[in-house]
């Protein structure tokens, strides 16, 4: 054995080939699980896509680095399931490019935060976290409330998502900017189109409490309120396996 290695070391080409073979084993072990991805990722026919406004909110979430302190993955551990709800399924991140599972929790997990608190609370909390949670160490994000959301380029964001596999239709891409405006302006004439394109379960309301303008606050709150709400695949799974979330 040592003799073979010793001889191999003295042959440059042979040794380079041997290094490539050995290191490709490591690569193969990492890639191989993807060959079975169709069998291991659950099915969720009811899965909804992010609306343009929610996608804009997701981009703000990434821009502000929220993922550095908040994870979006509930692990298969009893204490996490009891606190945050059913554990996360792979399919729930199907349209997340990139995924925001995270691995650090300075703040709580946000995978199922959608609908847990009111819009008004989310806004108050982002403007000044300590006004509602005195012990919070989260920074304030006051500028979200006063910065108008850039919506003119949302069609391009949707196109980029479509290139990596999110099935946005041409209609959705063409109306992306109008839909972002419509979703945050419930009394406007563009609101109906959002529901028509993205489904009845879409939240159409003024997320920041001011229907007269669409701010970054509208977008981020719209995104937070949809987290964990795109499919109820996890809820169904939970009902089958435990039947008691207490």
């Amino acid at each position: 054995m040592f003799g073979f290695h010793y001889r191999l070391e003295r042959r440059t080409i042979g040794f380079v080939l041997a290094v490539m073979v050995v290191s490709s084993i490591g690569g193969f072990v990492e890639i191989a699980p993807l060959f079975t991805i169709d069998e291991t990722v659950e099915d969720a026919p009811d899965m909804r896509m992010y609306t343009p406004l929610e996608l804009a909110g997701r981009n703000i979430y990434i821009r502000e680095g929220c993922y550095a302190c908040h994870s979006q993955m509930i692990r298969t551990l009893r204490d996490e399931v009891e606190r945050y709800g059913p554990y996360s399924l792979a399919v729930e991140s199907k349209y997340d490019h990139p995924m925001l599972w995270g691995s650090k929790r300075t703040g709580p997990d946000l995978a199922r935060i959608g609908g847990k608190y009111s819009d008004a609370w989310q806004v108050a909390h982002l403007m000044d976290p300590r006004a509602v949670v005195p012990v919070s160490v989260m920074p304030a994000y006051t500028w979200l409330g006063r910065t108008a959301l850039r919506i003119d380029d949302l069609g391009l964001h949707l196109t980029a998502m479509r290139r990596v596999g999110v099935p946005y239709s041409d209609d959705m891409i063409a109306n992306a900017s109008a839909d972002a405006y419509g979703q945050a302006t419930p009394d406007g004439d563009r609101a109906a189109g959002v529901v028509e394109r993205y489904g009845d379960a879409t939240h159409v309301r003024s997320f920041d409490g001011d229907p007269s303008r669409v701010t970054e606050m509208d977008a981020i709150v719209a995104y937070l309120q949809i987290l964990g709400q795109l499919t109820d695949a996890a809820g169904k799974q939970e009902a089958v396996t435990t039947g008691n979330g207490q």
Partner: protein, 293 residues
Amino acid sequence: MSVGERDPHTGHAMTGHEWNGIKELNTPVPKPVWFFLTATVLFSVVYWVLMPAWPLGVTYTKGLLGIDQRTRVAGDLEKAAMKRATWTGKIEDMDLSTIQADAPLMQIVREAGPALFGDNCAVCHGTDARGGKGYPNLTDTAWLWGGDPETVAETIRVGINASHDETRVSQMPALGRDQILDRNAVLNVVSYVQSLSDSALATGGQADAVAAGKEVFADNCAACHGEDGRGSIDMGAPNLTDGFWIYGGDRQSVFSTVWGGRQGTMPAWESRLTLVDRKILTLYLLDLGSVRQ
């Protein structure tokens, strides 16, 4: 010099390299390194056999131990539920008022309540349940929708202005912003509303405004808040005479409320918390209130 040469001092083989008379030893890899390398390789082989490991096209090797994270967490949850079953069963089956009279069960409520409240309710209502601007104090005697156990449990279940199908709905219109009242009328009615809990106002310098506001109130507010301003728990309209304020009782706050309206939201908890959880929260809150009075 040749490859087969040995170092006379250590007995190790030489590599055959030589630089300016310095020769290189071909020292063998130390035995502990071989030992640990072999041990970890053997461990991985055993691990592959026992645990889920290799992908096989459409499936994967399940491992002899049959360990699966999802069945394990389901088992853990079930075990925990079994441990609690002695009291969760009772809380689920018994009436709220019966539990209130049962000292050992109330002891459990007092222990489980803070964790549930802290995790779900405290962000709005505060860790001490005393609320804040826009979020009612839950320890006082003022209840928007009624403070008996069944009603509180129902409010927790369906929420207020929430996305639940049976949610309680209560909207205070924006009387000023939507031009139902002009600015003067709003100012007058604010004076009147303040005088309801502060009788000194009715006779002081604002007496005229209070009198004018009374008429505005009768025409625009009494339908929900009642002729006497005592509110209505059927509509979640607050009592304006009791000195408890959700959005503040100072002149500016009351003006903002009348001018811009209020549509406070409390999320519905039916889909997030079990019946037992909601019952514990109800009892915990009512217990908090009774302890503090």
